[in-house]
Symmetry: C2
Subunit: 414 residues, 2 copies
């Protein structure tokens, strides 16, 4: 326990300190925390002083760190689901729908294509090409809705037309990409004959959540009214969360899909959803997710990307990821009539991957779909694409609205 | 992870179901959760069907369960500290002070005395008599402030003179007993020569928290004003919590003392203390503490108390615990002028041990101060003394005040 707490404290301190620097150069704090975890891991501290790294993050704390990280990620994905406004999908026009579909399909296709030449050199030994390619494609089609929302807020763009469009696209992207990933992870894990069963059960589970669980929750919450929820109701919700996680694990996909889906089927604006977000968000972000950053940092060995050939592959991943996400979004937005500048801005925003990408990558590594080397390359890609967002928005001249309220929110780091 | 979630879900369901029954017979829900954990462990389910118990709570999940339980207990003790109103100690008269002191000193002395004949038969092999007796005495002087507060609330007695007196006594008892326990655990662990150093460092740490950390926190919170705390401040608080836990672990006492003390030195009525309680309480009670109940249930083997001799010892522990806590409080309250009925009521309330006692016992078992058999006996004692409180209050005719608001709070289980 001592070392676990020590590691958590170290990652929180490093992440917050780096966060101050990053805020100053206009980068979202979550990237500072990701990088802090990597710097304290084998990639930097371990390379400089293996003894210091072994003291700070000894291998013995890995299981404990993983459990807190898992708990944190599950609660985090539940909150992301809760904050997702599914009604926008019904309200928005075909322009946004087209853009959102393009922002998944294009990177997925390009990712699958890139996986073909990478497979022989960089797949984990036991995984078939088909599964490797599917996972690779799905991993590239992730957009980090929370980081994107945060960047928009930091730039006071949340309520601008472009901001609303980006949030809507990202919400659709999130819902679709995680369902896609659930199927891909399930299929990638299963025997060939079993793959269809897994895909079928996943779709059935998603349908069940939307068409059976959602009406039940809506009905129950309507009965509860606007009172603060009693503890018995909270116990029921956490129980539903655990059961949803267990169901997804039984199907063979990952517990976080269950957590995300349960959050997504909650009525977005209900008193209890707002209350839960309010309660969980800070605790999860401040105390539990640092365990995830530390764990990911321990897993990430940038040193594995050695030699110019590996760095070329890493560059190719960044290029393909950006071409797919930015390019797909940009082209679709232009086709549906957006200006050059707004299309480029939308593409840049959708190219944000942040924490969500790391969650996906950890699943791939844990399930032995990708090798530690590819994991490291993809982590670099996630950091680069996320960090590129703010400077490019700046270059495009997509400025802040001068708005006293949002400026205050920016300063307070809300 | 699958089994961990499954076990958590099972304990939550069992605890809540039993809680409904217990609420019906007027018992606090926390005792239902404690008993649910024990029933799912080796004591009942394991005796009936070892296979079912091994599926529900396999040994492989113990480390994971322990980490979530530890996290839950640390956050819980932090909240208990936050809710502790230390100012009452300065305001109240000598009557309450006398009663509070008696409610610690008498059970401590009687506990130490009982430890002498128990030592040869029931101590863990390596622990010296002195340490065993100290721990035994300290363990008997615990009062469960949260359960006591809950019982008072359930009976709408929180604002009656007796209720206020009981809460004040219990708050003083809590603060003093945990400091005493910290020293005892530290001393019990240390080599003979080192024991004084541990006791000294513990006192120094307590003094530091009250005379250095408390003013700093008060000053910082005053600067913050009544605004909702930004995330940076929350990060600082959780960091302080981790550092305080690390400091106590370094001294050789337990991390929960650090968590409790940090909570206790927070200004009780500050916006941030109320906000933190509100945020942490539900999540900790509903999601994390069930892991503690499951873990404690796995550790508790009632079957170890076999034969009439062991049950006699168990009865002796219950008798001595009650004689010390109830008797000491009752005598002191009578001497300072309370009525027979109120003195008996106060003694009964102070005899509530609940969850707090289990936290202490787990420390004793983990540090190998007490044997698994004594652990089981003490768990039985904690359950019996806690469950006796409500019926005895009923017998004494200490009725509810007919108060619409509190009745509503009772029904809602707030």
């Amino acid at each position: 326990m001592f070392h676990l707490f020590f590691a958590l404290a170290a990652v929180i301190v490093a992440g917050r300190l780096l966060g101050i620097v990053f805020r100053w150069i206009g980068q979202p704090p979550v990237i500072a925390e990701v990088i802090a975890g990597i710097l304290l891991g084998p990639s930097l501290l371990g390379a400089i002083s293996p003894a210091a790294q072994q003291y700070l993050l000894p291998d013995s704390i890995k299981p404990g760190l993983e459990i807190i990280a898992q708990l944190g990620v599950i609660l985090y994905m539940f909150v992301v689901g809760l904050e997702l406004d599914l009604r926008v999908m019904q309200q928005r026009g075909t322009a946004i729908l087209t853009t959102a579909i393009a922002s998944i399909v294009v990177p997925f296709a390009l990712g699958c294509a890139l996986a073909l030449p990478m497979y022989s050199a960089h797949s984990a030994s036991t995984v078939p090409l088909f599964n490797f390619a599917l996972f690779f494609g799905a991993a590239l089609s992730i957009t980090a809705f929370p980081v994107l929302a945060r960047i928009l807020k930091d730039r006071s763009m949340s309520r601008s037309p472009l901001g609303v469009m980006a949030l809507t696209c990202a919400a659709m992207n999130d819902a679709a990409a995680w369902c896609l990933l659930a199927i891909v992870v399930g299929v990638a894990q299963a025997e060939v004959g079993w793959a269809f069963a897994v895909a079928g059960m996943t779709l059935l589970f998603i349908a069940l959540m939307f068409f059976a669980v959602r009406p039940i929750i809506t009905w129950l919450l309507a009965r509860l009214g606007d009172e603060p929820p009693p503890q018995g109701v909270l116990a029921l919700i956490f129980l539903a969360l655990l059961v949803s996680c267990l169901a997804t694990e039984l199907i063979g996909i990952h517990a976080i899909f269950g957590a995300f889906l349960l959050g997504a089927v909650f009525p977005h604006k209900s008193r209890i959803a707002i209350d839960l977000c309010h309660k969980l968000e800070d605790l999860v972000t401040v105390l539990l997710l640092p365990a995830f950053f530390a764990f990911t940092g321990m897993q990430t060995k940038i040193g594995l990307i050695n030699g110019w050939e590996n760095w070329l592959w890493c560059g190719a991943i960044i290029a393909v990821a950006t071409a797919g996400k930015f390019g797909g979004t940009f082209a679709a937005a232009r086709l549906t009539g957006l200006s050059w500048r707004d299309s480029a801005g939308l593409g840049t925003l959708m190219n944000t991957r942040g924490l969500m990408e790391l969650i996906v990558l950890n699943i791939g590594l844990e399930r032995k779909i990708i090798s530690p080397t590819v994991f490291a390359m993809m982590v670099v890609m996630a950091i680069v694409t996320t960090m590129a967002t703010t400077p490019i928005l700046q270059l495009l001249g997509l400025k802040w609205e001068e708005n006293g309220h949002d400026k205050a929110a920016y300063r307070n780091g809300v």
